[in-house]
Subunit: 253 residues, 6 copies
């Protein structure tokens, strides 16, 4: 159930049986020589829509641009400042709270989003918890799940790629997009085969340390068949994760 | 050429021949009993991608949530506050300026965005024009085009729907989404057939004046065949509009 | 009735019979070789005070500085960033709401304000419509009217100046200030007689396209007699506009 | 020389001989039973324009609304939040810096503005002093002068009103507006004759402590003749103050 | 009673008998050749803790960094922008209001904080006084006391140092830190013995006018014995000041 | 070397040999029945000062209030909103960058700070990486280290407390404060001995799940002897961590 394909009456009906919503959140940033700039948005979007379909859960439009300042040294990368992303998440959640939603399941595709999204949850909660007299607003719950943290995914990726999976432009995420978008499979040679690891500071420093954008990965190993396995495993894991989240906290409508 | 399906090297190559980019911007808001909540994002996304394909122009990810506070009385509508949308557009443009883009063609699907997007352009320009010592940043140009203002579109919609097209949840936009997403065609009865007109203030006032969300329209007339005609006419008109914009101002790369 | 010349007890008495207020809003920016920098504030101030006098309606102090970033290439122009103007309008309206005002009639003298003022209305409405639990605040209504859009004004200006009226530093606005402030009539030669038209981007681009500041106008045609006719026509038109606004929405005090 | 009555070419010429500007700043707030809501704006506006006339110094439009949150318990009072006023002053100064102004003389009419305007100066300076690499912007100087602190004014007011002058809605400021705007002289009885003194906290507390709005004053003693004396003394004192400010710091153009 | 050394249950018990709290606020900035960078935080911290100990009043953690933009020309100085300090004070007070505190006694050690802290009080009050419907929050009171304004302190410093005390890096504040932190007494020669006076603008201007950081002082005269006298006098004066503040306004718990 | 006890000349001399600084950051929040409200600030402050002493590294004043919205249900807890903490960290770093510092080692004592501090680093980097023309500012590096992540600490705590250490109000952090502040050791009975675990949402939800404030811990086991061991182990680990950070990146002064 994608929100964008519903009418408002269908959403109103949905709220009679659930107050939870899935919100895919990603990034628009370089993913090395053969990774798509949209990788981090495409992965949670693909999984989120599948999850919504399987569980008849509502799926909001993907937040396609996230916090990617460290990738700005590479053409096509777009970032929101953390302060901007805070505001976007605040408005998104507040809009949906008005309709009666109380459980927000952010399905994340980008490690660089974790800090800001977590901070945003606190900023949102602080709107009610920081000032007295605001207790007429019911409690809400926000949760961030990275798709690669779904039960079973890391083990599978280890099996598939060993120590070649890496930290950015990983074999696993590129495989997943190759499975989901077989028309956009890119090939490119890379040197060294396996990219270096290192700390992340600002955009210029990043480009110096990681000249083609990858961190620790050898994504020439990526392939759509691996992507399919990852998709199936992640989907099963997310199903459990989402159900647990909803069961342990949503108010009865 | 969708940015999300490019690698950063492909974007770098694109910048050798063009410094312009198409950015579809819409809204996630109620569109009456048979209109999709995603209508305002789906229309410019569909047209923007077609335009990009035809002209080999780069298309950024769609900004799916816009300024829709007046629709918050209807389930599923999501808004950014104008101040938040200002920041989103500022960061988006500033990110792309870093890579060398200088001409930003926002293809808009939502009347409620016009004021805030126009204000955002001034906020962006003010970053350089308001303070001395910032002249080392080259001039940039931002333009907002509503798809329904593309040459030929209004005349066609008049022919197709006469005075039943309306102001919100229009026959034409719903026809366009029916053409683009034939699996998501909704049917619903509406009373009265043609919705009333009136001024727009806040969300509660809006819901009182326009009980099912429509303004001035009779979208039971919408149909995918009309949508196709609108699509073709709009696409041709936008092609002209985009070319003029780029020709009259972009720096030679 | 100017607010600045009232005591608070007089305002309290006014609120017994009306909850509406007129707020002139303009700009402080270049108006070409013979136009006053204050033109856009002086026009709505003059008309707003006359309207208030005629209808015994309260008139707030003029907001003299608006959104004028594109004029910053010319000495003396002052702008607020759109985000600043949003905050100013929010505070102004919120202050007056506390006293019981619910209908805000902004009388505008500057095209460059329209986007930001419209966005500000949404920002203000969003304070109540975006979050649940805020419904104890009564609905308010904000309206922006450009003085040149008052019924009858455009037709008159067409008669008076034909295609020489222009888009900025127009014959009509300069005539109006010449009528209102006959001691400040300026003379200057201009080449070409009629200034060019063109799109508006940032301040440096503006100065390149429009070297003496005018857009499309030949303000050597301006004269105080024309100004008087414009004043009378605009005042009559605004009277109708204001009455309609107040009649169709203000709560009974 | 009022900025609003100049053309941009006249301002450009002015900048050849001076880089200083006078900016009257006031407030729109209750001033007790016989004081005008505009008192705090009218006083510095009257004096600032006279000062500008005498010294051929440029005078910006009056900032009519200031920081008046503690007066919001009385009808007609309007406030900007301190954070909003910070932004307004920042944009105003930054706009003028672009044209070459470097000495900003704020002539103040409202005690409640002092803290926020002083904080704004630091916010403005911090734009350059807080970050390295911004030293290409020349130093600027901002000064706030309260008209009642002009040499000679306090002594005169003591002579005229003794201990009846008070702290808000003072005999002296009301006399000054009566002199400047003789058509708006108000009469009202007040009990007690002399209002109480006390600390200032929020708007509700203020209204409880000072039921008719006055602090420590007996403004039935105000009269236009006293206003004229105050005007003359203040004008002479401000002339000295302004000249000293300009002489001791403005760069040679 | 230092908050940092309490458990939450001890604070809950404290709130049964008092709703007031002492908050020391200082700055981290140069204090000339023999003054500590922490001087302005150490003075109110020392006095605030002693005051809290004597009166069994709760003392919050010291706000060690304040508004010091004009000192940024000297190594080690740290500033918050006024807008940032506004937010810090807002959050601090709002957090404590939630627990039931209603009287906030800011004990200040830095003249440069006065404007911004005062503005912050208005910003905090405006949260309730600016918008209707927020009256469910009880009134709160905030007060700023500079330790050198405690009764008796200025007279004592005059006796001790005459006209050598100065305006920044004063003999008295350096004496106070020498008394409180005898292990950190610094010695340095200074030329001239007594520093110049002058106006304060931005950081670069400050460094030009006051090359070693002092204003008007001769802090070679500072000594810990004088510091002890100042400490005792200030503590007694602050005791009176605090008791008066609490007695005249705190709600009965 | 504590910054607060230095003169500016001493800081200038320090910058000749190092461009790095240690900044302890904590929180002011409940720590259960026997934990101090200042625990999270006291731990990194104690360790940071010891580290600075050992390595002759400069230590900034402790940031004592952090992001603690989820603790607001317990008396005495104070939070900054994430957006406020972003601004504080931005100003702190920007001030120090002006003096020539380029390596910022934040020593953290509060898990709830991690997200916001990490987001702040991106916000700070974005000031230069997000906009072209700002490359005249040299690269800076910010690092957050939680003291409990110093090599060896977790193993030691496991030995000392096994599964009773917990997640909030842990045996280890309370032991550390007992060692550092033996005069403030508190005793209290707790039921159950070991507190429950669970997810963290807003302040009201937190209080319901964790009635006395603890998460997963049994802090009756805390003791100053354990605190001393933890202190020594953490200090050694932090020494390595700090040296590695500085060695791998600071520019040669």
């Amino acid at each position: 159930m994608e929100l964008r394909f519903c009418t408002w009456q269908e959403v109103a009906a949905y709220l009679e049986r659930s107050r939870a919503i899935i919100i895919p959140i990603g990034s628009t940033e370089q993913h090395g020589p053969n990774g798509l700039i949209g990788t981090d948005a495409l992965c949670p979007e693909t999984l989120g829509r599948a999850l919504g379909g399987k569980l008849e859960a509502l799926v909001a439009p993907t937040i396609s641009v996230g916090m990617a300042q460290h990738h700005l040294g590479f053409a096509g990368s777009i970032t929101l400042r953390p302060s901007t992303l805070l505001a976007v998440l605040q408005d998104t959640v507040n809009s949906l709270v008005r309709h009666g939603f109380d459980s927000f399941y952010f399905l994340n595709g980008h490690g660089g989003n974790i800090a800001t999204v977590s901070a945003a949850f606190s900023e949102i909660y602080a709107q009610t918890s920081l000032q007295p007299g605001s207790h007429n607003r019911p409690s809400i719950r926000c949760k961030l799940t990275n798709w690669w943290d779904a039960p079973g995914v890391k083990a599978l990726c280890g099996e598939l790629f060993g120590d070649q999976d890496g930290g950015h432009a990983t074999c696993s995420e590129i495989s997943l997009t190759q499975y989901a978008y077989p028309d956009s499979i890119k090939t490119a040679e890379m040197t060294p085969a396996k990219a270096p690891y290192g700390p992340i500071y600002d955009a210029e420093d990043y480009r110096r340390r990681f000249p083609d954008g990858r961190i620790g990965s050898n994504p020439t190993l990526a392939n759509p068949e691996a992507g399919e396995k990852i998709f199936e495993t992640a989907l099963a894991g997310l199903e459990t994760d989402y159900k647990t989240f909803v069961a342990n906290g949503a108010r009865t409508p």
